[in-house]
């Protein structure tokens, strides 16, 4: 039955994280040097604290030492963290989500035995998924409603050596968490095999090197990862379904709207700041908030936030409950993609509107509002962008089904 009550656990973790953000994250995040987008190093100590609170292992099942949070809870926590600092949110949600995918769903017992103890024990044990490659064009674009497939190409190879080890060669880019990850899940092509595979590669594997990005147009830290005759044991290969499981981490669609919750958190931070300022700042003898123009603007921002949250929560819950689409409680549409387009467009506008209320203070690089605007823009323009997402949504609406590669090959024969 339709029910919007959050569970006691959800309410509690939201309060806990909100409190952590207020007490610990905000004082660091609001320092001028951190607000300046030109030099934003990850606050490792806060990440350690968050890890001790269980936020690094939020989605990991309880059996394995995590909090076992469901998709909705992960989105609630992400919003709260991002209202404090988008980079902290991105870092934690990436590790937490990959932790769940890898340890709960992709690894064999033997693999878990090797990696889980370290992951559970070390607050700095972060995870990264190295999927994307240089010069891969994944945009739908000209292939909209055309039978040509637009799929990521994997050129990084893994070859089995005589001693059974895998030897990896290739370069991955856009890798979130790359500079801090202790373990990478790497998408590879094994010559002679049609489907792509995933290998577990510890950061200290010989032949692996990371080049961190400066000021990337992404949240958290990121970098390129180069594999040069990088060797890992034979046992590091994940099962065949791992590639598909992990691919959703990058592409919006029917996945978990974690990055949309991040964008919402950024918008809320801007809104909260603007409401506070509008109470304090006096213009024409009255606080700003008592002016129609400012009140109206704040109302418009509030509407954007509430509507986006309803949309994100719906997508989050749906990604955990495919049965609700099957029984037609929810539409058979890519709800995460809808949340992505809507939220990112709305938060870009919301942060700008909030900043306008601050007057000259709203244009300063070392003040919060410009940081929020920048963070919202990153959410809007990373990846393939909203124009491409709309084309993908349009194909779903049209009921267009692109022939698979195999079908194309058969047709071509």
């Amino acid at each position: 039955m339709y029910n919007l009550h959050l569970s006691a656990e959800q309410l509690e973790i939201r309060d806990t994280v909100r409190d952590f953000v207020t007490r610990e994250i905000k004082p660091v995040a609001l320092k001028a040097e951190r607000l300046d987008v030109c030099d934003r190093r990850l606050p490792m100590q806060l990440l350690d604290q968050a890890s001790q609170m269980g936020l690094r292992t939020l989605a990991l099942s309880e059996d394995r030492g995590g909090a076992g949070s469901d998709h909705l809870t992960c989105c609630i926590v992400t919003e709260e963290l991002a209202a404090g600092d988008a980079d902290i949110a991105a870092t934690l949600m990436t590790t937490s989500w990959l932790g769940h995918l890898l340890f709960d769903r992709a690894m064999t017992d033997a693999q878990r035995e090797r990696f889980l103890p370290k992951f559970a024990a070390d607050d700095r044990f972060h995870l990264a998924f190295a999927g994307h490659e240089v010069e891969t064009d994944t945009r739908l674009g000209v292939n909209y409603h055309r039978p040509v497939t637009t799929e990521a190409v994997v050129k990084t190879t893994a070859v089995k050596a005589a001693n059974g080890e895998w030897v990896i060669n290739g370069v991955k880019d856009y890798v979130v968490n790359a500079p801090i990850a202790a373990l990478f899940a790497v998408l590879v092509k094994v010559p002679g095999q049609s489907s792509v595979k995933v290998l577990l590669v510890p950061a200290d594997a010989p032949g692996l090197s990371v080049s961190a990005h400066e000021k990337p147009w992404q949240h958290g830290s990121s970098g390129d990862v180069t594999f040069k005759d990088c060797r890992v044991p034979a046992g590091n290969l994940l099962g065949d379904e791992a590639a598909e499981l992990l691919a959703g981490v990058d592409a919006p669609g029917e996945g978990v709207p974690l990055f949309q919750a991040l964008a919402l958190g950024v918008g809320r931070a801007a809104y909260d700041a603007a409401v506070d300022y509008a109470h304090l700042r006096v213009q024409g003898g009255r606080p700003l908030i008592e002016h129609q123009a400012i009140g109206t603007k704040l109302a418009e921002v509030a509407i954007k936030l509430e509507v986006a949250r309803a949309t994100i929560w719906q997508a989050a819950w749906a990604s955990d409950h495919p049965a609700a689409v099957a029984d037609r409680s929810l539409p058979d549409l890519p709800l995460q993609m809808i949340a992505q387009i809507f939220t990112s467009e709305m938060m870009a506008k919301a942060t700008k509107d909030a900043a306008e209320i601050f007057g000259a203070m709203g244009v300063m690089r070392d003040m919060p509002l410009q940081k929020y605007i920048h963070d919202a823009r990153v959410c809007q323009h990373s990846g393939n962008g909203n124009s491409d997402a709309k084309l993908r949504l349009a194909e779903v609406i049209a009921g267009y089904r692109r022939p698979t590669n195999e079908a194309m090959a058969i047709a071509g024969e």
Binding site: A32, D36, C38, D39, V134, D137, R139, G141, V142, N143, V148, T150, D173, Y174, H213, K215, P216, W217, Q218, S222, V282, Q283, G284, G285, H291, A293, I294, K297, A348, K352, A355, E356, G359, A360, G362, V363, M364, R365, D366, Q370, I373, H374, R377, V378, H381, S382, G383, N384, G385, N386, S387, K390, L391
Partner: protein
């Protein structure tokens, strides 16, 4: 109706375009990238531009200036902004206040200040109105309350006035040689009737510059704090009489071609330059960048974005040129204000569409694209906030 340019206007446009292409564009991104706000400024470009007349083009010929018309000024601002909006503003800010000198200063003041201004390639002007606690209150003060608005106090002591207080976000503060400073000389009356404008040279005793603001856009263009601690200004430096500041600066009902109202034209002409840059960069990108084996331009969603960019830009150009012409005709209207408000919407829409077309390339956003978007946001605060818009609406009647 005639949209063509005179030979003189055309030659100013060409001169500015050449200077922008050859001198400004090559340094634009490097200046923008300098992390420390105080260090983004480059005197060399000011000196080079000044030698071409770009610092003094608004000064009357009789004082050694070039006395260009407003149409030429609009053309030049646009051309310079096409290469760097902040550098364009660094030049035009001087015209703004040389308009004010021409319109409001006595002959004696002109002699004392305009002549050295013309003679010195590094002589830069500014005006201090905004204070930490009073921004929009100065622009749209309530009629029935004397308290809101600027607080900097000036008290007369014989032939001198003693100024105490602070100004914030003042353009050119860190580099200017001469400033117009609005100060309260009668705190008992509403703002418009109780402020006096002073000419304050940068070496005035008791006057100093505080911090330089670290803006997200317009990095090159310096805004700073001004601190007045018993600063002493001669009575002879008063512009337009005691308590007479507003009527001289082009506020409601005042002179509409100098001072503040030039600022409306300035902002929309500058925005137009950013839009031109955005449109041309986007078109070039769409024609060259490939996706799926075709130029991006082949895609309908790209065509629709380009359409909107060019459409809004050409609407803005039409409006800007009309406003410049109206200024030359000394026509009083609300059009300059509307064009300024409008330029906010256009410059942000155009640059954001450009960012949309480009998207993040791999892991980074193109620096130039990002700069255009950041520079454009300045308009939210200067030209397009609700106070700016309501102020203009109240001129419509």
């Amino acid at each position: 109706m005639d949209f063509s340019l005179s030979n003189e206007q055309r030659s100013w446009q060409m001169l500015a375009r050449k200077f922008a292409d050859e001198e400004i564009r090559p340094i634009s991104l490097a200046c923008d990238a300098i992390p420390t706000a105080r260090e983004t400024f480059d005197w060399e470009i000011i000196k080079k531009g000044s030698k071409l007349g770009l610092r003094t083009m608004a000064v009357p010929k009789k004082y050694g200036g070039l006395e260009t018309d407003f149409v030429s000024q609009a053309l030049v601002m646009t051309e310079l902004a096409k290469a760097d909006s902040a550098i364009s503003k660094a030049f035009s800010q001087n015209w703004k206040w040389s308009h004010l000198i021409s319109a409001a200063c006595t002959e004696e003041q002109k002699e004392r200040f305009l002549k050295p201004f013309v003679a010195d390639d590094t002589f830069v002007l500014g005006k201090g109105i905004t204070e930490p606690g009073a921004g929009s209150d100065n622009r749209l003060p309530p009629d029935d309350d004397s308290k809101p608005g600027l607080k900097l106090k000036a008290e007369r002591h014989g032939d001198e006035w003693i100024l105490n207080g602070e100004k914030a976000f003042i353009a050119n503060a860190p580099i200017g040689k001469l400033f117009f400073i609005d100060a309260r000389t009668d705190p008992t009356v509403p703002l418009k009737q109780g402020i006096t404008m002073f000419l304050v040279p940068s070496d005035t005793p008791g006057f100093r510059i505080g911090k330089v603001f670290n803006k997200s856009g317009w990095r090159f263009y310096q805004n700073g704090e001004m601190i007045f601690e018993n600063a002493r200004v001669p009575h002879a430096n008063i512009v337009g009489g005691v308590n007479g500041a507003v009527s001289k600066t082009g506020g409601e009902g005042g002179d509409t071609t100098g001072g503040d109202l030039f600022g409306d034209l300035e902002l929309c002409a500058n925005a137009l330059g950013i839009c031109d840059d955005g449109c041309q960069s986007a078109l070039r990108y769409a024609k060259t960048a490939q996706q799926g084996g075709q130029a991006l331009f082949a895609q309908q969603h790209v065509q629709l974005k380009l359409n909107r960019m060019f459409m809004m830009t050409e609407a803005l150009r039409s409006f800007v040129m009309r406003v410049a012409w109206e200024h030359d005709q000394k026509i009083h209207s609300y059009n300059a204000g509307l064009a300024m408000n409008y330029s906010t919407d256009v410059v942000q829409d155009v640059t954001e569409l450009y960012m949309d077309i480009r998207g993040a390339e791999g892991r980074y956003m193109d620096h130039h694209t990002d700069k255009l978007v950041r520079d454009s946001f300045i308009w939210s605060h200067l030209a397009g906030d609700s106070v700016s818009r309501m102020k203009v609406t109240r001129r419509i009647n």
